[in-house]
């Protein structure tokens, strides 16, 4: 056997040296992070190896997919992450998501890492950290500390803004000339990790959210970098641990709640259309059962209530947060004085976390990343002292210098105010989007793109943010979803950077932040489509009403169809009345005087009969289409289904109008012929009129079989008597036609003779 590995034994002095710090939120995805403890190829074996080393085991990588460990008690273990390898031998345990072996290791890790206290060593030089962690806001810009009207678009960061790199920005500081350390002390803080579990109809996913909290300031703290944990020293739990934990938990719950709500409302919104559709199915079925009266009413109601509850169970959305770990951290802090060209300020540095603490406003006490320094050295947040900047200078009116007392609540940001004003949102709103975690936001973007009829080919992971590669209307498209942050607008810098990364492809920038005017201008220049806060708000408003809107539109469509059908129904009835009236008034007292006149009248009637026959054929077709325009069986809700669109009814109406004219013309022509004459003419003419009258009557009754105005009740809309009458009239018409044919047979030889005389004469 090849021993291509080194024995590794747990060594308290030997640190795990993670190569990258974990983000504050880590969703369930595979990671390529490696700790350096062992060098297994897969993250699962890597994790197992490190856990075993921490247990005091000696671990070696036997193969790319096989890990071997000797525990302190001499027992041996083998792990693989490749199922076929696990099948080779009973003593090889499979590490796979969900497997018992992995679950055991995870449980052990959770047990060991769940609760404790440790001290972080100083990992940064305070002087250097202060220099890099704080920057002067250029007087020529100053938009990040400028005053904004409440409804105005918040500022976008300029290209050189110190805030862009997560630093502090101070207007009025000037170029940093000198930094001096004033003092050092130890500070205590709490870091909590929550496992947030999201469940909906599509399944479940977990996300871990870390929440650091400073008990002195009550401010949130950034999560500890994994690298700094390698050098941490364990401490006994502080005696005040319980007292520290309670407020930290309360703060964490406050911080988590909007994120949970945002996710929950989004998931509910995502499935709402399908939920409502299935709910409608249940309600319609129950309604139908009530009509069918096969079941006792209370049984139907009970059954409906149960099905609705069951439907609710299926679609239920749950977002649960559970504390997974709580650690009490002692970190070295340093206070430094920074002297710039125009002023000086005091900074507090967390040397364990390697971060600069946010600045406290001298007026309202709120913490801020961007501040203004007045001439007297008061550090002020932009809300207390908005700066008015020109390219040459900045003017600040300092409320501290002017002795203006701070007003409670005046410090709230415009976005925060929006948040507080959000008391009765009726659906998913842009405020929810602001509160989403990155993972939820990512899912939201995927859903948004689907709603825009985009087919997502793949999602590429980039360091900064994912990139969606998709197709919209068959054309390739790239989508990015930057989140500039609360109180920040999407700026031209972000648009330019995105356009550069798109390399000429069509690009969408999707954000819940407002887009600055310059961002829109740049987007126009590069052909980028920005879906900003305003557009997103419009989309959400539409989406939230989608189902209702669909129902309204469906109802509207039905009503339009019914209106068109009813109008056509009236037209048909009018037409047949007119035709019948015309035939009724075709009694003509004139008598044919001569033989040639008789021939002429007969020839005319013959021609008109042919026209009328063609018209009746067309009427039969039209009435067949009319009948077919309605559902054969009652619809789910017991109504009459109208199958033709209004425009189809219009087309039918046009054909009816045309046919009406043609038929009326034929009948008028017949009516104009003399009513009396010899040689059986009068009998024949009368029989023809009777036959046509019966046929018109039959058509009228056929039209009356369905009354679209009664569409809500399928039975009421159907007149069975009319159907019977139609049949009866059709029979009468056939008899009348027979009589007419017989009369014609008697009369025709004379007509033919007459015609022949006329032709040869």
């Amino acid at each position: 056997m090849k021993w291509l590995f080194k024995w590794r034994k747990k060594d308290a002095r030997e640190p795990d040296t993670p190569r990258s710090a974990a983000p504050s939120s880590s969703a369930a995805k595979r990671s390529s992070e490696r700790s350096g403890g062992i060098s297994a190829a897969s993250p699962l074996l890597q994790f197992a190896g490190e856990a075993l080393i921490l247990r005091g085991a000696r671990v070696r990588v036997e193969d790319a997919d096989l890990l071997f460990a000797v525990l302190p008690d001499g027992a041996t273990l083998r792990y693989t992450d490749f199922a076929p390898r696990a099948r080779e031998s009973q003593d090889i345990q499979l590490l796979a998501p969900g497997s018992a072996a992995l679950a055991d290791l995870l449980a052990e890790t959770a047990r060991h890492g769940a609760l404790g206290a440790f001290e972080l060593p100083a990992s940064a030089d305070p002087i250097e950290r202060a220099r890099t962690g704080c920057g002067d806001i250029p007087t020529a810009c100053g938009r990040c500390v400028a005053k904004n009207a409440e409804d105005a678009i918040p500022p976008a960061l300029c290209e050189v803004c110190p805030l862009r790199a997560g630093r502090l920005g101070v207007l009025g500081l000037g170029r940093i000339r000198d930094v001096r350390e004033v003092r050092r002390w130890q500070a205590q803080s709490v870091e909590l990790t929550f496992r947030v579990t999201y469940r909906d109809r599509h399944g479940r996913y977990d996300e871990w959210l870390r929440f650091g909290w400073d008990p002195m300031t009550g401010q949130p703290l950034p999560p500890i970098a994994l690298a700094s944990l390698a050098h941490a020293r364990v401490l006994p739990l502080p005696p005040t641990a319980r007292d520290l934990l309670a407020p930290a938990l309360a703060e964490a719950e406050r911080a988590l709640q909007p994120r949970q709500e945002a996710a929950a409302v989004f998931f509910a919104q995502r499935d709402n259309a399908e939920y409502q559709r299935q709910r409608d199915d249940l309600l319609t079925t129950a309604e139908r059962l009530r009509r069918e009266s096969d079941q006792a009413p209370d049984e139907i109601e009970r059954s409906l209530a149960m099905e609705l509850t069951r439907l609710g169970d299926v679609f239920a959305v749950g977002v649960d947060a559970e504390l997974e770990s709580a650690v009490f951290i002692t970190t070295p802090m340093a206070e430094v004085t920074v002297r710039g060209g125009s002023g000086s300020l005091t900074l507090h540095l967390d040397l364990g976390r390697d971060v600069v603490a946010p600045l406290a406003c001298a007026h309202c006490g709120q913490f801020t990343q961007a501040a203004v320094l007045c001439r007297q050295g008061h550090l002020l947040c932009p809300r207390c002292a908005p700066a008015r900047t020109t390219s040459a200078a900045a003017t600040v009116s300092c409320p501290v210098c002017e002795g203006i007392p701070a007003t409670p609540g005046s410090s709230a940001s415009p976005r925060s105010r929006r948040g507080k004003a959000r008391t009765e949102p009726d659906a998913l709103t842009v405020t929810h989007l602001d509160a989403m975690t990155d993972e939820t936001w990512r899912r939201f973007v995927g859903w948004y793109l689907e709603q825009q009829q985009c087919a997502i080919d793949r999602v590429e992971e980039r360091e900064s943010a994912p990139i969606w590669r998709l197709r919209a209307a068959g054309e390739p498209l790239i989508a990015l979803a930057p989140r500039p942050g609360i109180d920040r607008a999407l700026g031209d810098v972000e648009v330019r950077a995105a356009a550069a990364s798109a390399r000429g492809s069509a690009l969408w920038l999707i954000t819940s932040s407002p887009a600055a005017p310059e961002a829109h201008a740049t987007a126009k220049q590069f052909g980028v489509r920005i879906i900003d806060r305003a557009e997103m708000a419009r989309f959400l408003a539409t989406a939230s009403q989608a189902h209702t809107q669909q129902r309204i539109e469906a109802e509207r469509d039905t009503l339009a169809r019914i209106a068109a059908a009813t109008a056509l129904h009236t037209t048909l009835l009018d037409t047949f009345s007119a035709l019948e009236h015309m035939l009724a008034t075709a009694e003509n007292a004139d008598r044919v005087g001569s033989r040639s006149a008789l021939v002429a009248a007969a020839t005319r009637i013959e021609a008109d009969c042919q026209t009328a026959e063609r018209a009746f054929l067309a009427w039969d077709t039209i009435l067949a289409e009319w009948i077919a325009a309605f559902g054969e069986r009652e619809a789910r809700d017991g109504s009459l289904a109208v199958l033709l669109t209004p425009s189809a009814f219009d087309t039918l109406g046009a054909r009816i109008a045309h046919l009406r004219e043609a038929t009326l013309a034929a009948f008028a022509s017949i009516a104009a012929t003399p009513g009396d004459g010899e040689a059986g003419y009068a009998v024949w003419r009368k029989a023809v009129l009777e036959a046509f009258t019966a046929r018109c009557e039959s058509l009228r009754w056929r039209t009356q079989i369905i009354t679209p105005a009664q569409w809500r009740d399928f039975s009421a809309a159907h007149d069975t008597q009319a159907a019977a009458q139609s049949e009866s009239s059709a029979t009468s018409a056939r008899y009348a036609a027979g009589r007419a044919a017989k009369a014609y047979d008697d009369f025709a030889p004379r007509i033919r003779t007459g015609k022949a005389i006329a032709r040869h004469g």
């Binding site: 369930a28 995805k29 700790s35 099948r87 769940a114 990790t193 934990l245 929950a264 947060a321 009726d426």
Partner: protein, 627 residues
Amino acid sequence: MDSPTRDRPADVPAHHQQAGAAIPITIGFRDPSDMLQRLAAPTPLATSPALDPALDPALPRWYALLLRSHALAAPATFDTLLAPSVLYDRVRPHPYQLRVVEQVLREKAPAAILADEVGLGKTIEAGLIYKELALRGLVSSVLVLAPKALLSQWQDELRERFDEDFVLTDEKRFSGFDREPRIICSLPQFVRSFDHIAIRSWDMVIVDEAHLLANPESKRRRCAGLLRARWRLLLTATPVANKVTDLYSLIDLVAPGKLGTRREFENEFVADAATCRIVRPDRLAELRAIVAQVSCRTRRADAEIPFAGRTVYTRDIAPTSAEDALISDVTNYLRALYRRLPAPARNQRGRTSAPAAERSGPRINRGAVIREIMALQQSLSSHPRAIEQSLRRRAESHADERDILLALADRCQTAASAKERLLHEVLADLKGEPALIFTLRLETAAHLREAIRARGSTAECYIGALSRLEREALVARFNAGEISALIATDAGAEGLNLQQRCHVVVNYDLHWNPMRIEQRIGRVHRLGQSRDVSVYNFALSDTIDDYVLRLLYQKINLFTMTVGALETVLSEVQEGELDLEERILDALLRADSPDAIRREVEALGDELVGADQRQHEAISFTERVLA
């Protein structure tokens, strides 16, 4: 998960809070009571890192590892299934089974009808779906409803293949429907206990042989409709068993409201209202499309499972004269014992159910006595050594029958076994070919092992008392060719897979439960078996085993029946309280003459044949409608 969750009403849109009109939302923040308890009492724990991980010097590294471990959590979507990997050593699903699992999880969730043709492993598919959901924490409370004949099989499958311990409602450890998270329950029991079952909401309900729920007027269908369960899986090879409206009954269970009311469905799709056996031709495609939306159906032709064939050798042999006399006398003794029991009640369909005496008390535990008689009968059929031990054990606890029992036991010592002689002949014919021999009694297994060894062959017993390691070692030796005969009991053979080297199964003792026979053969007749499997059945002439073999099993072609078809047949004939084994025993001990016994067994055989025919009709009807 024990700590309470403070569900707070979400600050969510009004329409989300309106009951029924909107999707219900729960936002929870679980009280970290464990953590607070640990903090409340740090002193006694804080003495040693072994007791309190918080004092472990490696704590920061554990903490870092914990944070990194978050990346190892299960993926959120069902794009990658977890269960097949986790169950790598227990089940190797066919590609078509994985397709079904994926379809159900991705497209049909949370309810579907698994309508594969008979023998394609619907149980495996349902088990995989359940396991996948359980691994992801989406399902914890599960109720499996199955015909009585299949309950043990479900339990075994779930334990062996899915590493899941389900409890049967008639087990002693069963603590109630409100407490047990995973339950297997018979359909009659389901109806009887519905009030208790319906108290809770289940994460998942699996109904096997779901066509038994097709009748809308049946109590079981009505109860199933009232059950509150998030996930619902209906398993049936014949979703349209008798009428087209069967489909309505099943689809309405998985997708209520989808087909409207029953009358609406009939108006829409049924051409003959009287028999409901013809679908309107113009609506057939639409009906099939609807069915496809809620069900998955794989046909045998599409599955392409390479199954080896089976050859069955039935060997009967006349008992030795001493054996014959012994069987006769012991049977008479058992008959007398049996007839002293209160008669089982018969229900309206003429099927036996729990005896009135048992229901109303005091109190002969009929079930226990039946089990004892059954064990004695099995011993008697098995080997004189086995019945000898059984009689002596009974003599110890029944002083009033001691003399007669000991006298019978003494006679066993001198009786030679004809079946044993037959076994030696068969093994000699096999010429060293490895064989798996099934017996019902441990005593027989031990005796046969010694007898085979005495003839110079190698034999070992594979019984329930062996540890896991011992079993693995035995299988390894058997597969390595070190053992030529492995003598197993049914209980011991659970999870045994010997298809690698062995293709001979000897039913030295016949089991009266056909499912057990199928399971025995399944130990070697499974995927991976490259040769035809030979099945040897032993029976003493003109004994009950002989009748069962010839009048029951051969009548329904048990040994060559399509895999999976047996379950459906049995589920139909075994709805009462008495299972098939008890009915055979009843036939044996109630009748006075061999002819009467034969007639009883034959009648039972006819019943099975009838069920088999009905199943074939249902299959062809389903094919016609859904093909």
